[in-house]
Symmetry: C2
Subunit: 213 residues, 2 copies
Amino acid sequence: VACEDVIVDAANADVDGRQRDRLAQQLEFIAELDRLKHVVRRTPLIDGSRCETDAEHSWEVALMAVVLAEHAGSPIDLPRVVTMLLIHDVVEIDAGDTFLYDDRATTTKSARERAAADRLFALLPSEQAAELRALWDEFEELETPEARFAKAMDRLQPLLHNYRAGGGTWKHLGVDHAKVTERKRIIGSGSPALWAYARELLQRAVDDGVLAA
Amino acid sequence: VACEDVIVDAANADVDGRQRDRLAQQLEFIAELDRLKHVVRRTPLIDGSRCETDAEHSWEVALMAVVLAEHAGSPIDLPRVVTMLLIHDVVEIDAGDTFLYDDRATTTKSARERAAADRLFALLPSEQAAELRALWDEFEELETPEARFAKAMDRLQPLLHNYRAGGGTWKHLGVDHAKVTERKRIIGSGSPALWAYARELLQRAVDDGVLAA
């Protein structure tokens, strides 16, 4: 009955002009972000059947942050980490997914992604655009415990997938233990415990023959 | 330099036994949840090119909650809403996606989904399992402002997609304005403003000929 009352109120509610304008902008932003489902990453699903999309990756790393928060190296504001991870890859709608082991694309990545952030966040009401843009910048700058833990999730996730999928992109691209270790050690700045675990996993990957020594 | 220091600490860190056990359980849970990327929903992407996966849907509704929080009908604990939305569909790994307009499957949905929740959350360390299971139950029971707002996101998202995709599942399944209105009015219990907007959109859908009157 209480629920029905609320529904009756809703039917009578008027959306005032300012709220309507904000809502229209917010829904344009949401609709534009649907394109993140078209950006395909190099990371395989764990069963190896296909590669995942950026939207799927973003869901997984946000959930990982919730589940693994206790392993953060410093106290973190978890909701800020989760929001950061929900938006961290939206720039790839314009800039594409720059593969971690593609050194040439990596040199232009930052400029391409900043231009994309300029365009995408500007779809929102201005104060909300500024807020989410600041969070995206914070992730990129890696200077806060939240950004470092978020980055640890972002780097740990494909490592778990490649290991469980029997090599994945490591095999296809021919990268070896030293190269992976170099690109993944940033995990340690967000979570020493997860980096210790990841290093064991990389050693096991070598022992199992899914990663070149 | 500060960052390098942290990395050195990480390299020396030991993962103690209890933490290692918890981590192993948590990563099994994360790995199992990868299967949510295999559950395909009836909802089309906005460009109509394919249907979305449950993982993609979960990402989108979590992000919608962040962007649209100001329109909630009652004060909400936003981080709780976001976490709820990240996990709300994981039971579909076992139970499948029950389509909103499939009345027969809907009668057995609840039991199938509870069994799935029993299995999946039990993969986690026990106190964490209880915490996430309670959040999933809260979503299902729709008794808190957080659950109602989360449900509003979950019901609004396909409506936006179907409208923008030129009819989507409404056309394929032959549902009409009255049927959609009946199944979507729960949006109003989480957000009167969003329900007022959704009703306008449904009227526009009829006027545009993408939804039967």
